[in-house]
Symmetry: C2
Subunit: 443 residues, 2 copies
């Protein structure tokens, strides 16, 4: 069992999965930094009014109170963040004068939502976000760059292939308006349910609850049907017969993203005009990401362009970002045993302890190995060697070091192969692939 | 200004300090892993009753409620962790059957306390904990090992020298009982205030509030006066004339820790019998850590032995751990400009953009450099080169790459030295110290 959760919706991993998660996070970070994104670790807590103004998820917000607080104490009216974008927008408006734009940042943090726990839905989960934010304006080439950063990061993990589905809200909004729909947000939210409730379900939702006519609902579904790995989606939208400035702007932006994706790696980025995204704050490009063959997990990385989220003193800070749902992704991969680490601890070498009187000497051997970057620990007790080897074996520690007297006769054993050789703690190195635990590809 | 906090007690850093914090965390992690500690990332949320049973900080706990929750919903009665040890104890009792003991883990996470914000006291802050936990018993040599792991970690950072002050609660408890004091916890808490309110303040607290006689209070203060870099503290305690099994056990354990510290590095670990620690759950060794010359920060790393924190079904899981107060430490170091990163972004090379038509080619140069581990980004706009160089300069990016036509004539400039040389993006490497940002020693 990978999961150790005792509280529904608040997942915890056992140590081997924690180690694997850490390696996933390290890989994402490494790629984000290679692309020039710097780390940002914002506070978990936001003023409630800021959370409520920026999200439609008000029922899911966790409010904080001190156990014995005065009702109007200075920390009243606080809640936990439900995503990493809304706090970033707050941080931007507070610190704009001290930041350099365009700002390239990543955040890898927990967020909290009081959703009903179910498969793939958690109340506390980790996200990894990248964002680029401009001051006043932000060139559209960033909309094309960010999905390629995410693809670079996910493709360095032993995961099934990824496919980024991209849309632009300007297209839907322009088409909806052109056919006379007034409740744009309601229509987007209904179309966002396409994967869950199907075409007929969405049609019914649009006509019964959003107030669309049959013809309007039909157009929405026709638009959502459009998709392509190349620029042919532009003509398909044209065939709907809507000539509108906003639609054309959206088509141009989306074409830029799809073309850049195609140039980078054909099939990686695809235009899919059914992608809506639930959050209100997106104003243009929106992204979802699927693992090919594992579409039922849902989107493992989503995001979009937000031109209006951060504004202050008449200044705007338009941004574009993507968020990897680490917990959702790993929950599925661990559950299906598709991902694990090559050992359950960082330790590469266990120093066996001949007698308790030798513990200091064992410590010096360990220090010599560590000085050359080899992770090691000294055995807990000087029990018989068979038990000490078993300690290493149960944890996947590949090597056991046997101190001898005189030290020139020290030996090290690869306990997987059973091979034991003489070794000097100032010189011996394990093969490079054994130095650190690695993620194991089990596809 | 390093600090960007808008909410008192909830510190946030600007990007350069975030980058420096990340490097501090990475250094700690690297050392913890070299010593065989594996990562553990537990949930932020605990049942209130667990938090209340394990800490005396009930007034400081943040309680969670969903904004529109039913009063008895399944996520009622939850609070945010106030440390990383109490959640670890809960995790142990829940998962004992699936864990391997002794368990060596580290946690680097946020915790929350509703304290009154002041210098060095925060409501949300990051800690880095290491713990070793046994099943049934845990050898005393771990009490001696853990402070050396912490010393190894802190000494790899460009910090002032560290000094670990160690005590053992069994000594104080035995001496207090021997002279007839009954309120052991109250006495420990009063002595814990020695640094803050001085000898007379503690004496008064002991006689007025804890119920000690003058003679008893005098003995407490005599005991607290004892300290040594070597084993001479054993005789000093002996001169108090208390012969008690618990005292002798504590002296033996403390002697083991001090001797191991002395062997490792004289002056690093010192016996200081005034060290009490506020938390209830410590049962033996207790640790505090000072930065020499910066004692006013308070302890930057504290912890102790907890034999009774995790028990279930008649089984006990004794542990010993230490916790680095990352936020407190960095808040002081950033504030006094004692620590910073060598640049404010991970980027090593900015690819200049001659014209917007060249952006794709610039992206290919960036990809070639990244493939060899060099972090880079492409300039935001094709403005004149002077402005593009200024973009790099303001962020501390050391190199700017100038694409030319034909590509064989590409050049790269070290903008610090102003030196520009021909370069091939498949071959050029910056000097090793420029590849990644580094922590700068400003002591």
């Amino acid at each position: 069992m990978a999961q150790a959760a005792s509280l529904s919706g608040f997942p915890e991993w056992l140590p081997p999965e924690s180690l694997a998660e850490q390696q996933v996070v390290d890989t994402l970070r490494e790629v984000f930094e290679l692309h020039g994104f710097g780390p940002l670790g914002l506070r978990a807590v936001e003023p409630l009014e800021w959370l409520l103004a920026k999200g439609e998820t008000d029922k899911e917000i966790y409010v904080l109170n001190r156990l014995h607080a005065e009702p109007d104490g200075e920390d009243a009216g606080l809640g936990l963040r439900f995503d990493l974008t809304v706090p970033l927008a707050r941080y931007l408006t507070e610190n704009a004068g001290r930041l350099l734009f365009p700002l390239r940042v990543y955040q890898i943090q927990k967020v909290w939502r009081g959703e009903r726990p179910q498969e793939g839905r958690f109340r506390e989960f980790r996200q990894a976000d990248i964002d680029v934010i401009g001051h006043g304006q932000l060139p559209a080439h960033y909309d094309a760059e960010l999905p390629l950063v995410i693809a670079d990061a996910l493709q360095r993990l032993p995961l099934p292939p990824v496919r980024l589905r991209v849309n632009n809200r300007k297209i839907a909004e322009g088409v909806y308006r052109a056919v006379g729909i007034t409740d744009i947000t309601g229509t987007l939210r209904a179309v966002d349910k396409l994967d869950k409730i199907g075409r007929e379900g969405v049609h019914q939702l649009l006509t019964d609850q959003v107030g669309c006519s049959d013809a309007q609902a039909h157009t929405c579904l026709q638009l959502a049907d459009i998709g392509a790995d190349d620029l042919s989606f532009v003509d398909q939208v044209g065939q709907l017969g809507v000539d509108d400035t906003l639609v054309n702007e959206g088509l141009e932006e989306l074409a830029g993203v799809v073309q850049a994706g195609h140039d980078h790696q054909p099939g990686l980025v695809t235009a899919d005009l059914s992608v809506a995204r639930g959050l209100d704050y997106y104003t243009g490009t929106v992204y979802e990401t699927q693992l090919v063959g594992h579409e039922s997990i849902g989107s493992v990385c989503s995001g979009g362009r937000y031109d209006q989220l951060a504004t202050t003193d008449g200044e705007t800070y338009p941004g574009v970002g993507l968020s990897v749902g680490i917990t959702r992704l790993l929950s599925r991969l661990f559950g299906q045993r598709l991902l694990s680490a090559s050992r359950s601890v960082p330790t590469c070498v266990l120093i066996a302890v001949p007698t308790e009187d030798d513990r200091r000497r064992c410590g010096r051997i360990a220090a010599a190995l560590r000085a050359r970057g080899i992770a090691c620990e000294v055995a807990p007790t000087a029990e018989r060697y068979g038990k000490q080897i078993r300690y290493a074996d149960r944890r996947g520690i590949p090597y056991v070091w046997f101190p001898t007297d005189p030290p020139e006769r020290d030996e090290v054993r690869d306990i997987r192969a059973g091979e034991q050789i003489p070794a000097d703690c100032d010189e011996w190195m394990p093969p490079p692939h054994d130095v650190h635990p690695a993620l194991t590809d089990k596809r």
